[in-house]
């Protein structure tokens, strides 16, 4: 049972990390350009 929880957990963590990672990268770049424009 712990094995299954671990598997599901790995998938959820991985999907979340990558999704929010890409969103975070976009936000970071957006702020970088706003800062330079000002």
């Amino acid at each position: 049972m712990w094995n299954q929880i671990g598997i599901v957990g790995t998938l959820v963590v991985s999907i979340s990390l990558i999704t929010f990672g890409i969103i975070g990268l976009t936000v970071f770049l957006e702020r970088l350009y706003k800062k330079n424009a000002k």
Partner: protein, 256 residues
């Protein structure tokens, strides 16, 4: 000595032969700077002038440039490898071993080829991500985006067809798995839904067409070799030409 040399070079560069081949000098004038991309068949992919904002790597990431560069490196190393490889199931594996152990720098050439292949898959993916995040597929650049997706698919197919050529266990079974999935295609595969109903048999379905037979053997090796070395690079080159042309026509999307 200096005077002699400069007199000699001045004379050489004023001869009709030299002037016929090299039509402009290298003095740093704006006119000459324009000539370099303008009068060179390879360089005139580039515009003569470009917006300063288009040079920002933090906007473009340079991944499109890297992808094209890796494609060229793959072509050059690939041609070198082609001199030592014959797509015959009886000797293909031994040819690879010879390339790695016997041919001078063969191992470096093969390693560069393989690393560039993986690198190109990553670079193409990164390029697509960058274009998406900067919205550079919106009007009027939709067509170029579609060409880009086709290029992505072709990059993966190029990589996959090349995978078979060493004829080792990795190659044979990777292609077996891949063609098994092809046989499961709906309508045109013998194992797919509605396939048998439409007359698909093991000797006339899409897997048979891919392999030139019912199993991964000599025919498959030859087909994948021709696809990998001739057909797909030509198709990719033509699509790349359209892809770059569209960038010139629609303009680079970057900051001002």
């Amino acid at each position: 000595m200096n005077n002699l040399w400069s007199r000699f070079s001045n004379w050489i560069t004023s001869t009709p032969v030299w002037r016929a081949v090299f039509r402009h000098g290298y003095e740093d004038t704006p006119r000459n700077r324009s000539f370099i991309p303008f009068s060179n068949v390879l360089y005139h992919l580039h515009p003569v002038k470009i917006r300063k904002g288009a040079l920002q790597i933090r906007y473009s990431w340079g991944m499109g440039c890297i992808s094209f560069l890796l494609f060229i490196i793959l072509t050059l190393t690939g041609v070198l490898l082609m001199f030592y490889y014959v797509p015959d199931t009886r000797r293909a594996y031994q040819d690879i071993k010879d390339i790695m152990a016997v041919v001078s720098y063969g191992d470096i050439i093969r390693n560069v080829h393989r690393l560039s292949a993986h690198g190109m898959v990553f670079a193409v993916w990164a390029h697509m991500t960058r274009v998406f995040l900067t919205g550079a597929y919106k009007t009027p650049r939709e067509f170029n985006w579609m060409i880009g997706v086709v290029l992505l698919a072709l990059t993966l197919v190029l990589s996959w067809t090349g995978y078979l050529l060493p004829w080792d266990q990795l190659a044979l079974w990777a292609i077996t798995v891949g063609t098994k999935m092809a046989a499961a295609t709906p309508f045109i595969g013998v194992d797919g839904p509605f396939g048998p109903e439409l007359g698909m048999r093991p000797d006339n379905d899409v897997k048979f067409m891919l392999l030139g037979g019912t199993e991964v053997g000599q025919n498959a090796l030859l087909r994948f070799y021709v696809l990998h070395c001739v057909v797909l690079p030509l198709v990719v080159a033509m699509l790349l030409a359209v892809h770059f042309w569209r960038v010139r026509k629609d303009g680079f999307s970057g900051p001002r």
